[in-house]
């Protein structure tokens, strides 16, 4: 039998270590499985919670902004408009917050056992994706129920919107996960940051309703605007604003590179400082 030969050296250089991540795919699976299982094990309604929260928010926002303030959302009815934004946002929001906390949550394992550290924030993000899939199914059912037309372009636009949310979440999540190990301050700053990002995303209002085009494209730096823009393109015949999409894609790729780079740079010492 061929023996596995490992060389242990002081950390140097940077590699993504994708091959190693693949070797540890089973552990990856078990961490994700554990997190999903534990998350819903003690709750009475279990998986329903993945639905109740966005549906509740949808009702509140619909009441506030469609009935009271009458925000114009074009061809898409307001409940579907806000729900489409909310489920994308929830994917991003819970990915980032769980990934950000994940290294500290698993500090006792990190200090004892070696495995590619990226597995931990990645599996935290997969848990959020799992919730998203359930919410997405309900979203589609609701669209049919509320007679919201779905266009064939959705085959392209839905996955693109989800992918863009994921890329941004992975980048920011990795960055915060690594930062949290060293500076616990970010645990407290994160909810505030996410709250700001929520209002800077076109969830409860369409970005097109922003009057100043400078301000509009500044807001587009927030990658969730591009993600939601793409996602909603499946719901109407209007094509997405490509400027928003390009700016958002650029900034989410930037986040991904920074996040990955910082995580890989600092991960060797997690066990010493966690």
């Amino acid at each position: 039998m061929e023996k596995l030969v490992t060389t242990i050296k002081p950390p140097s250089g940077l590699s993504l270590g994708l091959k190693e991540l693949w070797q540890y795919r089973e552990l990856f699976y078990f961490f994700t499985w554990r997190d999903i299982k534990v998350k819903y094990k003690q709750t009475y309604l279990g998986i329903l919670w993945a639905l109740l929260q966005p549906l509740g928010m949808m009702l509140i926002f619909t009441f506030l902004f469609s009935k009271t303030w009458k925000i114009d959302t074009g061809a898409i009815t307001y409940p579907i408009f806000v729900l489409s934004g909310l489920i994308c946002w929830n994917l991003f929001n819970s990915s980032v917050s769980h990934a950000g906390d994940s290294m500290i949550q698993n500090a006792n394992i990190i200090k004892k056992i070696y495995f590619p550290r990226l597995i931990i924030p990645c599996s935290a993000i997969l848990v959020a994706l799992f919730d998203f899939v359930i919410a997405f199914i309900i979203f589609i059912i609701l669209c049919i129920f509320l007679k919201q037309p779905l266009y064939l372009t959705g085959i392209f636009y839905f996955p693109m919107g989800i992918l863009l949310s994921m890329i941004a979440a992975v980048g920011l999540g990795f960055f915060l996960a690594a930062l949290n190990v060293k500076y616990r301050d970010f645990r407290y700053a994160l909810p505030f940051l996410l709250q700001v990002l929520f209002f800077a995303s076109q969830i409860i209002y369409p970005l097109q309703s922003v009057q100043s085009s400078l301000f509009k494209y500044l807001l587009a730096i927030n990658p969730m605007n591009a993600a939601i823009e793409l996602f909603r393109a499946s719901l109407s015949t209007a094509s997405p604003d490509m400027k928003i999409v390009v700016i958002g894609t650029g900034s989410s790729l930037f986040l991904l590179i920074i996040g990955l780079f910082y995580f890989r740079k600092t991960e060797a010492y997690f066990a010493d400082i966690a």
Binding site: K3, L4, V5, T6, T7, I8, K9, P10, P11, E26, L27, F30, R34, K37, V38, K41, Q42, N108, I109, I110, K111, K112, I113, Y114, F115, V181, K182, Y183, R184, D185, A268, Y269, A271, D272, I273, A274
Partner: protein
């Protein structure tokens, strides 16, 4: 055949900072600002936990690693298991490494016993197919089959431990690292585990690195020994020879410790200069009778007015069990603001408390509200206790082996009642 582990010039340096290992951004900012305005940079102390480690370990060897606390034993295992990277040098590992730095790593209270076997097994490096294959054996070995589908939070700690050991005992890596884990759990189950590991290591040529303070299990289990001191390999070879060398060197008693320049607290409040052991007549000694009072005296200088702190000791036996800790809750200086000057504190360990054997004392100066350790010096003093048959002791006239961590003289009342 090539060695299973080849280690060359391996070293690990840790930076010692006065602040906690994880930091608040606030501290980083204030330190940076301070460093800009003060010319003198805060000298970061660093120390080498391991240095110049060179060793080859052949496949199938069972290596015991011994040494005092802080000698670098656990750091060495952590580097080989890749939990932490070395600062210098390298190591080549041939074979899959399974580490048992603590049993039950990753156990989750909400999951059932069975689910935890899968989770823990995969964390320890088992493949799912391997766990499937071994599942019955693991459950059987643990002896908790009845509760295997109950969440772990309903297990007693003993049951959790048995399940954890059981997963560990069924690991099948080519190289297995074990750190002290066998020191816990009930004796019978420990023996069962050691037996199981010995069996597989002999029949399958598995390489085992075993860190322990328990010389008995090391002697029984290991084919060779590495002795570490201050991060360096002092000796390697035959277990009996090295263990007896280590025990005799380690167990030298030391009645007095005189720090030439003193040990200064990180906040510059106080300097510890001296620690010594003495009897009731204040003669400095390191050998006492079981019945005798033992005095521990610390001498230190308070360098700043208004400092509030206290002094204390930790006492360990030769198996490194922490028998007791004590700090000053009785003297008049307790919780008082000190004036600058030299101080002397004496604590008395009562007679008829400790059994025969060698004991070690660590000394500390620390603030209590909140806890802030100013100085903590490990194993600075050690002494030996002998039986005194001339005075009444808990032993009475019994001369054979008399186990127990402490040996208080208990007052018994007995009378004929009928």
């Amino acid at each position: 055949m090539k060695p299973a582990i080849e280690i060359r010039n391996l070293g690990k340096q840790y930076k010692l900072t006065a602040i906690a290992p994880y930091v608040a951004l606030r501290d980083v900012i204030t330190h940076t600002v301070k460093n800009i305005f003060t010319e003198k940079k805060r000298a970061d102390k660093s120390f080498w936990a391991l240095q110049d480690i060179n060793v080859d370990i052949e496949p199938g060897e069972r290596i015991g690693i011994i040494g005092r606390n802080g000698a670098g034993k656990s750091t060495l295992l952590k580097i080989i298991s890749r939990v932490t990277p070395p600062t210098t040098g390298n190591a080549i590992i041939r074979g899959r490494v399974g580490s048992l730095l603590e049993v039950g790593t990753g156990f989750h209270p909400e999951l059932t016993g069975r689910e935890n076997i899968y989770l823990n097994g995969s964390i320890l490096g088992l493949k799912k197919t391997e766990i499937n294959k071994q599942l019955d054996a693991i459950i059987d070995f643990s002896g908790v089959e009845q509760f295997i589908d109950t969440p772990l939070k309903h297990y007693s700690s003993g049951m959790q431990l048995r399940l954890a050991f059981s997963v560990a005992a069924h690991l099948e890596p080519e190289i297995l690292l074990i750190d002290e884990v066998l020191a816990v759990g009930d004796m019978e189950f420990q023996k069962k585990c050691l037996g199981k590991m010995e069996e597989v290591s002999k029949s399958q040529g598995r390489t085992i690195l075993f860190v322990s303070h328990n010389m008995d299990s090391i002697r029984k289990f290991c084919s060779s020994i590495i002795l570490l001191a201050n991060g360096k390999i002092i000796n390697k070879g035959n277990p009996d020879k090295i263990i007896s060398e280590y025990v005799s060197a380690h167990l030298q008693t030391k009645a007095e410790k005189d720090w030439e320049d003193g040990i200064i607290a990180y906040n510059n409040q106080v300097r510890l200069t001296k620690a010594y052991l003495h009897n009731e007549n204040y003669s400095i000694l390191s050998r006492f009778y079981t019945t005798e009072k033992i005095g521990v005296t610390l001498e230190y200088e308070v360098l700043k007015d208004e400092a509030v702190f206290t002094h204390g000791i930790n006492l360990f036996n030769q198996e490194n069990v922490n028998i007791f800790n004590s700090h000053d809750v009785t003297s008049l200086l307790k919780d008082q603001k000190r004036k600058k000057g030299s101080y002397k504190a004496t604590g008395w360990i009562p007679g008829n408390l400790l059994p025969e054997g060698i004991f070690m004392i660590s000394v500390a100066l620390f603030a209590t509200h909140p806890i802030d350790i100013l100085i903590h010096e490990h194993e600075v003093l050690s002494f030996e206790i002998f039986t005194d048959f001339s005075k009444p002791s808990a032993r009475g006239n019994y001369t054979d082996k008399f186990p127990g961590l402490v040996r208080p003289l208990i007052h018994w009342d007995a009378a004929l009642i009928d």
